[in-house]
Amino acid sequence: MTPPAATASRLMQLDDYVPILGVQEIDDLRALAGRLTGRTVQMVNSTAVGGGVAEILSRLIPLMQELGISPRWDVITGGNDFFEITKAFHNALHGGPYDARPQDFETFLAYTAQNRQRLSFDAEFTVIHDPQPLALIDARPSGKNHWIWRCHIDLSRPNPRVWDFLRPYVCRYDGALFSSPEFSRQLPIPQYLFFPCIDPLSDKNRELTADAVHEVTGRFGIDTDRPVLTQISRFDRLKDPVGVIQAYQIVKRYADCQLVLAGGSATDDPEGAQVLAEVRAAAAGDPDVHVLDLPPWSAIEINALQRASTIVIQKSLREGFGLTVAEALWKKKPVVASAVGGIPAQVIHKHTGLLAHSVEGTAYQIRFLLSHPSLAQKLGEQGHEHVREHFLITSNVRRYLALFLHHESHGRS
């Protein structure tokens, strides 16, 4: 499959969100922002394109601008050696093995010093995203500015050597933002809960016509007259795709359903390709199991598959925040998911979905929802409201505005 021709996407404006949120919530945003008019905000991360952080910032910055704030987005630079080290740091902070050498830390600090020289840090509120630019706190000017560290990764089980190196930098910030309480650490600075977000107007989440959904399901040979169970996730053992097939096989004894496992391309990931092969073997030629290895430009396809689903599954063994859950809830789909990572924040058990802790539990919850469609519908509708309140890009803007106002009124910690 080849990527589609690039299309110019229009930048969303606040008024575009009025039909989704109501004018009241936009009024509230404007009122909050009114106290920050003209104030300068600097966001710093390590990449301008690709990845969730860049995607969020590319939508956040224009909305802040429209609200009268003066945001700036800076991206740090570095050689391959820097990014290899920060990638290793990233994996180590997630708990992976990493035998850090002293020169790794020296290289990290040398590139930090280069970025300190290259960038200016005169904003009233500076938000540093993730560990790559963390040591830029050395560049903090004296004065009344506020520095916040936004950690998008799970720090619950970090590699001690890497964490011991980074922790003193973290402690010099005025506050740290985490996506889940589970991801945070014991720190002497205030820590705040900052959920990641989805954009309801993006290709992955915007409304689709029934014809558009039908076109996609038809292309993949999915029969929409029978229940469709779907898990969207890359082919990774931590997402437990084989466990999903086992749960489906239990459900299949009771209900004539299909399973869609749709994930990112595995072509550049040797382990992903291996997992994909295991998944295909586990499916054992069952024509009702659709294993879809999708390319990265499949936002519309993912949107359509989620919308065509009867139940969406996220049976991860370990998870970051798991925004695919919020995407499914936004589409009013009942979700059965594991209680790991950020999922319990999205799936409030028996209110916005059902949590499970095993293959058998997942199968049982799916069977329960298939035989109680009105409850499934209610969970989906309440899940939609939950996302509207907490996991949309506009909620993210509101959180940042509130954070800036709070820090301003309480001074530097």
């Binding site: 109501g22 909050l32 589970e182 705040y192 209110h351 949590l355 309140e389």
Partner: protein, 218 residues
């Protein structure tokens, strides 16, 4: 139409959630945490939970009851914690005492439950409130109705529910203004009866709009 002696000033409240450095892995630890956590934490898990999850109208009352049910599978205690109506409290001290007493009574009846490990830990969090004036002032009931219709969830939750902690009254900002500034005692009383714990914020707001329309038509 009555013109008030003082206007009703509309505010909106936003909350940022602070992750406190404490978690409970079983009921005994929850009890200990409830006894000494900050008032802002009691507020977050009770008053603010109602605002965060206002769209849940059935079987959800506060974070504690939800955790006891979903992570400890203790429906009896969950029911007891969930039936604690935050509207009965004008300060957080009394609310904290009743939460602790409820857990204590359960542990007296089921002492072995104290150490049973939960599926997921309970993370104590707390709220920091950011209050902003919307710049709207109502001098008459009709003007009040106009702005009420435009009021967001954060504003309604603040004036209707959180206000009782500030006022230290079993009432709310709306009722106090109706009674004291407009002399509309009956409307004030009917407004106090709106049950936000079993309705959504939108539902409660629609209820109040109906009461005002009736008053305006009288």
């Amino acid at each position: 139409m009555n013109r008030a002696e003082r206007p009703f000033e509309f505010f909106t409240a936003s909350y940022i959630t602070r992750i406190d450095n404490e978690r409970a892995q079983n009921l005994g630890e929850l009890r200990a945490g409830l006894a000494h956590c900050r008032d802002a934490s009691i507020f977050y898990h009770t008053f603010q939970a109602l605002g965060r999850y206002h769209f849940l109208t059935e079987g959800f009352s506060n974070d504690l009851a939800q955790w006891v049910l979903a992570s400890l599978n203790r429906p009896r205690l969950a029911e007891q914690l969930g039936s604690i109506d935050v509207r009965s409290y004008v300060d957080l001290t009394g609310l904290r005492q009743d939460l602790v007493r409820t857990v204590d009574e359960f542990l007296r009846a089921y002492p072995t439950a104290a150490d049973v490990e939960a599926f997921e830990p309970f993370y104590f969090c707390s709220s920091a409130e950011v209050l902003v004036a919307l710049g709207w002032e109502a001098w008459t009931l009709a003007e009040f109705r106009h702005y009420l219709e435009r009021m967001g969830h954060g504003s309604f939750h603040f004036h209707f529910l959180v206000s009782r902690l500030r006022l230290q009254l079993h009432s709310n900002d709306f009722s106090v203004w109706f009674k004291d500034a407009l002399g509309l005692e009956h409307l004030a009383r009917l407004t106090e009866r709106i049950d936000i714990t079993t309705d959504t914020i939108d539902g409660a707001k629609a209820h109040l709009l109906r009461l005002i329309d009736r008053e305006l038509a009288a």
